[in-house]
């Protein structure tokens, strides 16, 4: 058994099918969930950030768009704005950039995960959900290298299974679970 460890943040990456998956994930979190949740969902560049309204309506975590220089707080979920990469600085504040797409995506899951992995080190939980490409695999691998916890949605339960499958291939993930059980695990940590 791994020794009890203190976590400080959760990063989540999702793509095709992500809206429903995120709803299930957040709905099943405790109202007093302890860690900030930072989300990259692949989204069209010119879309209004409707995701925030939908996730806020669940009335679990307070959901907002990530602002540049913001420091993530417990009780909140932060969503990367459309057409910006979201990075976490060594001092655990957010940076937004308009750099080139990574894995055809902006925001890219790898960009968030790799920077968050270095900022939070062993105190980070990374989760890959449903999606049709392989964004997030390298980032999840980096989270493992830095000593963090890697969780992947069970591909059999994912709306689109390529992204979870790619993540499972990229590194030795700690848990492969259906969404409800991911929430339950997070609540217990």
């Amino acid at each position: 058994m791994t020794p009890a460890r203190k976590y400080n943040a959760v990063v989540v990456g999702s793509s095709a099918g992500g809206l429903n998956a995120l709803k299930t994930l957040l709905r099943n979190l405790n109202r007093d969930f302890k860690f900030p949740v930072i989300i990259v969902q692949h989204i069209s560049p010119d879309s209004e950030n409707y995701l925030i309204h939908i996730l806020n309506d669940l009335k679990r975590l307070k959901v907002k768009e990530a602002d540049e220089k913001e420091q993530p707080q417990p009780g909140y979920a932060y969503v990367a704005p459309p057409n910006y990469h979201l990075l976490v600085e060594p001092d655990q504040t957010f940076t937004l950039t308009i750099d080139e797409r990574v894995n055809y995506a902006r925001p890219s899951i790898d960009v968030l995960f790799e920077t968050a992995a270095e900022a939070y080190r062993e105190h980070l939980i990374g989760i890959i959900l449903t999606g049709a490409n392989n964004d997030g695999s390298l980032g999840l691998k980096r989270i493992k290298e830095m000593g963090g916890l890697a969780i992947v949605q069970d591909p059999d339960t994912a709306e689109v299974d390529s992204m979870p499958k790619a993540a499972i291939q990229a590194c030795a993930v700690d848990y492969i679970l259906p969404l409800e059980e991911i929430s339950a695990l997070l609540n217990s940590l």
Partner: protein
């Protein structure tokens, strides 16, 4: 985390800090107050492409090989842009800023961090359509001389024109966008008539000072790369450069809320990050 991982990460961060210091000491380009996570991603990306054995080797190379430095400067430049990027911003300029500019007999605009020029030409097109271009002088600046040269040419890949046209229409453009450039097989060149009132020049927001009094400053998606201290310094430059009642336009995720110069400005179209400099604080 394993001890070896921790040490590797620490060494990497030290090496990147030294690389940035070397570029500053030798060439005067100052990236020390840029977002660390961003700089690190860009430099590691170059490291993997370069085939060099360590970041320390990149430091040495940057001191002796000027071509390599140019490459690093390109990596550290923000070169993702498009014509009429964020169409709603240009729509707001047309509706809310143009009426302000119309009150001036002669208009001076500073476009800071203009990159390869797409957004400068967008503004020129908009001003021309509004009948203001002939009495406008635009200073378009960027720290990177290679990029300024590209901006001056105003030549863009033809395959981008479809997106640019769509942006133009969403921004409230009514003319036929293809009238504004000449196309050949590979590229599209902006008409020279849009260039005549634009001066392209190198200017470094970090190390250079104010060079003119202007009625409008456009600086979009540059400040997000700076730390809070540098952001504040640069907003101070803009405040010094603007006339009372002048207009400041920032990127859609940038705002003045945390700036020490917050009281110098009031919102004109806050949602689009368009501000007016107050006559008196």
């Amino acid at each position: 985390m394993k001890k070896s991982q921790e040490e590797q990460l620490e060494n990497q961060d030290i090496e990147i800090r030294l690389l940035i210091q070397a570029i500053y000491d030798k060439y005067g380009y100052d990236f020390r107050n840029y977002s660390q996570a961003h700089i690190k991603r860009r430099m590691l990306n170059r490291f993997h492409l370069s085939g060099m054995s360590s970041i320390s080797q990149m430091i040495h190379e940057s001191l002796v090989n000027h071509k390599f430095v140019d490459q690093l400067l390109m990596d550290l430049s923000i070169n993702v842009t498009e014509m009429f990027r964020d169409p709603s911003f240009y729509k707001a300029v047309r509706e809310h800023v143009v009426p302000v500019l119309k009150t001036y007999p002669f208009i001076k605009i500073w476009h800071a961090g203009c990159s390869s020029g797409e957004e400068v030409y967008s503004m020129a097109i908009l001003l021309k359509e509004e009948g203001l271009y002939n009495r406008t002088q635009i200073y378009a600046t960027d720290f990177n001389p290679v990029i300024i040269k590209q901006a001056k040419e105003g030549i863009y890949p033809i395959n981008r024109m479809k997106d640019f046209t769509l942006n133009y229409q969403r921004a409230g453009g009514k003319a036929s966008f293809s009238d504004y450039y000449t196309a050949n097989y590979e590229s599209a060149k902006l008409l020279d008539s849009f260039k005549k009132n634009i001066v392209f020049a190198t200017h470094n927001l970090v190390t250079d000072s104010v060079f003119a009094e202007v009625h409008m400053v456009v600086c979009r998606n540059v400040l997000i790369y700076f730390d809070r201290q540098l952001q504040d310094k640069v907003i101070g430059l803009f405040a010094d450069s603007l006339t009372g009642g002048g207009v400041l336009c920032l990127g859609s995720k940038e705002n003045l809320q945390f700036s020490g110069y917050y009281d110098n400005f009031e919102g004109l179209v806050t949602g689009e990050r368009i501000y007016i400099k107050k006559y008196k604080v």
